[in-house]
């Protein structure tokens, strides 16, 4: 109680400071919101994004969206988990309308945190295949990526590669490169195995990979590819799009690295290669739900899908839209069929497993 009183006493002081700083600060969101209410008829309001996508071309797409619909897109870029935390704290009063992030696990986490609501748009449901959407329509995938095995072309015969499980076998001792346990992509990969193979088998796999690691996990996905070429190890588990980005890199050396590794889609005889999505869900307390749905429809329309996916060398989620040349070159593959929401539900168990068996 005492603390509450002091807070109350303090409020006036804070208000003064707030006004001081707020004069300048408020202008960013408020002016745009208010402008949306009152300005010319061409202005159809706003949609406010909390997003973990940081690509420059996204801004160009938002500008195009504004051109077509008159709706202004406002953006807060941040890290997914922290944005979820902000959404939770802001609760019913948040300004956000749409939450965009990479990884199905995080989308599911947002759903479980009760900050999302179902979208109604039939167009989105028609466009995006069911397994790439949440069962209750709380989120939908927007782009797709595969977690594959990348190998040194000069040292590894792709015929010796088969499954994720085989990488945990004795033949690959000291040859496997992969990122740390904190990487959400590894967590989600392990979660998919938990769903398919159960805890015991997955635990054994984690142990096997840890035993086979060429070095302690370090760096990002690109660093794994570089380590393959440098000869630290022979194979790496990584996402396809990083290779695509390296091929587009401004550094000719990175392009060379990407060119000297091969891509192998594991588990083609079995459950299929692990896939994941980046996606979006409408915020529960959204005040511009209609606009948010329009943006979702826009992003899942074929022309935009192509651009949206191509920028990050990802697969479009809408069937019939062709992926980039690089991905077409890799060829088609059988996808893991795990319902993506399960990946989020099993995330914690996956993290615990990684920690238990010393995956750093």
């Amino acid at each position: 109680m005492i603390r509450f009183k002091t807070i109350r006493a303090l409020a006036s002081a804070l208000l003064a400071a707030g006004i001081l700083a707020g004069c300048a600060g408020n202008s960013t969101p408020t002016s745009q919101v208010e402008a949306g209410k009152s300005a010319a008829p061409a202005d159809a309001g706003v949609v406010n994004l909390y997003t973990d996508r940081h690509y420059d071309t996204d801004d160009a797409l938002y500008a195009k969206f504004k051109e077509e619909t008159g709706i202004t897109v406002n953006v807060v870029k941040g890290k997914s988990d922290e944005l979820i935390e902000r959404l939770k704290t802001e609760g019913a009063d948040t300004e956000a309308d749409l939450f965009v992030t990479a990884d199905a696990g995080r989308l599911q986490r947002a759903k479980e945190a009760d900050v999302l609501q179902a979208f109604g748009s039939q167009a989105v449901k028609d466009a995006v295949p069911e397994n790439l959407r949440d069962a209750d329509d709380h989120w939908t995938g927007l782009t797709k990526r595969a977690r594959v095995i990348v190998y040194a072309k000069d040292r590894v015969d792709p015929a010796t590669l088969s499954t994720y499980a085989a990488l945990a076998g004795p033949a690959w001792k000291g040859r496997v490169l992969v990122r740390g346990a904190d990487s959400i992509y590894n967590q989600t990969l392990v979660a998919s195995f938990l769903e398919l193979d159960g805890e015991e088998e997955t635990g054994a796999w984690v142990q096997g990979i840890v035993a086979n690691m060429a070095q302690d996990p370090q760096g990002g996905d690109r660093d794994q590819a570089k380590a393959v070429v440098a000869g630290v190890g022979d194979v790496a588990i990584m996402n396809t799009y990083y290779l695509g980005l390296m091929l587009k890199s401004s550094d000719p050396e990175e392009v060379k690295v990407a060119e000297s590794v091969g891509v192998f889609f594991p588990d083609q005889e079995g459950d299929g290669t692990h896939i994941n999505v980046s996606g979006a869900g409408i915020v529960k307390a959204s005040r511009n739900k209609g606009n948010a749905e329009k943006l979702l429809e826009f992003l899942t329309s074929p022309a935009v899908q192509k651009l949206y996916a191509e920028e990050n060398a990802e697969y479009p989620v809408v069937p019939g839209v062709e992926p980039s040349e690089f991905l077409q070159g890799l060829g088609g593959f059988k996808e893991q069929g795990v319902p993506l929401h399960r990946l989020g539900e099993l995330n914690r168990e996956a993290v615990q497993l990684l920690n238990r068996y010393g995956w750093k």
Partner: protein, 550 residues
């Protein structure tokens, strides 16, 4: 004069000081309120599998970084103050410049330079030198210590050098008269002499290392702050993360108290005689140039090489960097950085002014409470700040409605006010330290004198003391400003819609592992901070020439 102090010993300035302290600690209190100690499965899991690794990683990093930044900082400060050598005036300031490179950027740049696709290995391959994989790998604890050393040593160097220049002349002259050589002076006079400023600056280094997330995340080293992140955001357990943050806070407090106890009441007030600068010894000929070369080499490793690499990458990649909003981005960075730094100085002046009338223990408590935001990782503070502002908005909602019946509820939260407030809480320690040092240095004598002439204490402070301390205040402002320029976690979590800073732009590229594109905004950060350092240099030159401050 004593009577004059005694009758107001406790009462003077109690309310404003209390308010400032409360304001600064609100987010910390909000976070601490959420600490729970009940049985928790994730906590047990953390203790069983991660704790040992985390303690080891954190201790090695913190102790290693403190050792090497301390060593580099003190030795460089000693060389620069004790000797005269060619280009000294320039090098003295060049050595301070590495402070402008954020550690996470240095980590990316050095990894890139030394990695397989980097300039070094590329050149070696061209010469057909066989490179064993792992030779140039720096993504481990030793590598991280290296990165922290080259980016954080200026904190030590700056503070220790200023101290040596202004305070140690008498002792060193005496030692010289007794025939002590430079090495003996260093070990017997300089080291004991700089204990206090050294300890203070090493505390800053410790907090920076404990709070850093960028380097350890990229190198995949388990430390306190990466553990807090993976518990909170990876396992989705905020309670356990806060519990860990709480333990860290306790640990840091313990460390500070320990440091204070060890230091005891030792203070090096050279009362009685005027503190005097060192008369540097002229190093002639070859020896002078050798020292210049050595210092320059160090500067090259800490700054020139990474800078050259960033420049090279920027040339390759600038076409792929979107620069349309650059004006707004730089504007945001400058405007709100300086607003926050200004508030830090303002609040710092308030606390430092009143602090002079407190007893010793009161002073310590006050000092520590002012800096608490610095000992909690940025992202945790950020959550505390959001929570505080949402409650504040709830509380103020009727007021907002009075002005605009259709108002939204979250007016302050989600505005730049929230971000600026967070900056102030987090970086108070940096600015406060220099402001407070200045106020402690002049003591109360001027204030008392002005008071006998009929001025109130506040008026005396504003009219007499502030003008005297102008340079220190500007220095505090600039140090804080440079730190905020490099800041990341708060901006990422608290920024309003469409708000970008140079650091956030750098992060967005670096996060997608596009380090070449990231070097464009990173270079701009360095450039803007360089402006700050240049002003600092000018101020300091003026001070030594004009002798305007005591």
């Amino acid at each position: 004069m004593n009577a004059l102090n005694q009758n107001r010993k406790v009462g003077y300035g109690l309310l404003p000081t209390f308010l400032v302290i409360l304001l600064l600690n609100l987010p910390v209190l909000v976070i601490l309120q959420r600490v729970g100690f009940g049985p928790n499965e994730n906590w047990e899991h953390f203790k069983e599998f991660l704790l040992a690794d985390m303690v080891k990683g954190t201790l090695l990093l913190v102790l290693g970084s403190m050792l090497f930044t301390g060593l580099a900082g003190v030795v460089l400060a000693y060389l620069v103050t004790m000797f005269d050598f060619p280009l000294k005036g320039l090098l003295k300031w060049l050595l301070y410049i590495p402070i402008t490179i954020p550690p996470y950027i240095a980590a990316y740049v050095y990894t890139g330079m030394l990695g397989y696709t980097g300039i070094l290995q590329k050149t070696l391959r061209a010469w057909e030198v066989e490179v064993q994989p792992g030779w140039f790998n720096i993504m481990h604890i030793r590598g991280a210590i290296f990165i922290y050393t080259i980016t954080l040593y200026p904190y030590v160097y700056g503070i220790v050098r200023a101290f040596l220049e202004n305070h140690s002349g008498g002792y060193i002259d005496a030692a010289r008269i007794h025939g002590c050589g430079p090495l003996r002076i260093f070990t017997k006079v300089v080291l004991p002499l700089v204990r206090v400023p050294l300890a203070g600056s090493l505390m800053l280094v410790m907090m920076e290392v404990v709070g850093d997330y960028g380097v350890v995340k990229y190198f995949n080293i388990r430390t306190v702050s990466s553990s807090i992140f993976s518990l909170w955001f990876g396992m989705g357990d905020g309670e356990v993360a806060i519990r860990l943050a709480f333990h860290v806070l306790l640990f840091i407090l313990l460390f500070q108290v320990l440091e204070e106890v060890l230091r005891g009441k030792r203070r090096f007030n050279q009362s009685g005689s005027q503190p005097r600068g060192i008369t540097p010894k002229v190093l002639g000929g070859g020896r002078g140039w050798a020292l210049t070369g050595g210092l320059f080499l160090f500067f090259a490793v800490a700054f020139l090489l990474p800078l050259a690499q960033m420049l090279g990458w920027s040339v390759l990649a600038y076409r792929q960097v979107r620069l349309e909003n650059l004006g707004a981005v730089v504007g945001n960075t400058l405007l709100f950085g300086s607003l926050a730094a200004g508030l830090v100085v303002l609040l710092g002046v308030t606390v430092s002014h009143y602090r002079r009338w407190y007893g010793d223990r009161g002073k310590q408590v006050l000092g520590r409470l002012t800096q608490s935001g610095y000992s909690i990782p940025g992202a945790v503070i950020a959550i505390g700040v959001v929570t505080t502002f949402v409650s504040l908005d709830n509380f103020l909602h009727p007021v907002y409605r009075f002005f605009d019946p259709e108002t939204r509820k979250l007016v302050l939260s989600g505005s730049v006010a929230m971000l600026v407030f967070a900056f102030v809480v987090r970086y108070m320690a940096v600015g406060y330290n220099s402001v407070n040092a200045a106020f402690s240095r002049i003591g109360r004598k001027y204030n008392d004198a002005a008071r006998t002439l009929g001025r109130s204490r506040g008026a005396a402070m504003l009219g007499v003391e502030l003008p005297m301390l102008k340079n220190s205040l500007v220095a505090g402002f600039l140090l804080t400003f440079i730190d905020i320029l490099k800041e990341l976690p708060l901006t990422l979590l608290l920024r309003p819609f469409n708000y970008n800073t140079l650091a956030s732009r750098a992060y967005e590229y670096a996060n997608d592992e596009r380090i070449m594109e990231a070097s464009v905004p990173s270079l701009l950060i360095v450039l803007v901070s360089l402006g700050g350092v240049a002003v600092l240099a000018r101020l300091s030159e003026k001070r030594t020439c004009g002798k305007e401050t005591p």
